[in-house]
Amino acid sequence: MPTNNDQSVLLIISNPPFYSASNRETLDIGLAFSAFDIPVSILFIDDGILQIKSDLNSEQLAQKNLINTFKALEMYDIQDCYVINKDLERFNLSTNALAIKCKTLDKDAIAQFIQAFKTVINL
């Protein structure tokens, strides 16, 4: 949860991997904001949770795999990553199957969670 409500930013990733440039470009926003000392949190929601599955293989698509950049988030001081319990259930995943450390939110708590941020970006 944001500690500094004045500047906190939440990035919402809701598209599946390899769908469009949006996940990559959302990630770029996170890295840039972090360089400006803006506290960034990321919420992976719906198909967006698939973006951080640790066993993604992009070779056959001839696309760049973003997973290493996601893994680098911690180095950019972005440690607040969240997934939703109903999405884990839907894809039969546990947080162990994800490449980055995520906290789990209850789906009924999402609205209140999002409301706590000053800025929310959902591309």
């Binding site: 949006s22 840039a32 904001f33 800025t119 929310v120 970006i121 591309l123």
Partner: protein, 130 residues
């Protein structure tokens, strides 16, 4: 209130940018101020001066420019997103050895730092995507 807009989709496949333009006009009419309009993703095509608008369609580039002239809007285009999609100014054309530049005068290329600055300095940042 101070607003900034983040526009993410292009006019050719989404209504979002048209909505953003109308939203901007409404904000100004209500007396709010606009810190920055940031064009990201496919919306960078708005800043290209090579597009041809059909006679029965809206020219959003011209409408942004008219609004910008009237209200001194800061129209910033993400440089990384723009260069990738072939929207470049003179100095990028030189740097990447391209035959010409196509950034519409009135728009400027800059980095995501300008979006971070907008997030810090405005009361509300509204995203227009999808």
């Amino acid at each position: 209130m101070i607003f900034s807009l983040l526009i993410y989709t292009s006019k050719s496949n989404s209504q979002a940018e048209q909505t953003a333009l109308r939203f901007t006009r409404s904000l100004l009419a209500k007396g709010h101020s606009i810190h920055r309009i940031f064009f990201y993703g496919d919306s960078v095509h708005t800043a290209s001066n090579l597009k041809v608008t059909m006679r029965d369609e809206q020219d959003l580039t011209a409408q942004w420019l008219a609004l910008s002239t009237q209200h001194q809007l800061d129209l910033v285009v993400c440089i990384a997103a723009a260069v990738k999609r072939g929207v470049i100014d003179e100095s990028e054309a030189k740097r990447h050895q391209k035959p010409g530049a196509n950034l519409q005068h009135g728009f400027s290329l800059s980095g995501l730092g300008q979006l971070a600055d907008a997030a810090i300095h405005c009361d509300r940042m509204i995203t227009f995507a999808n």
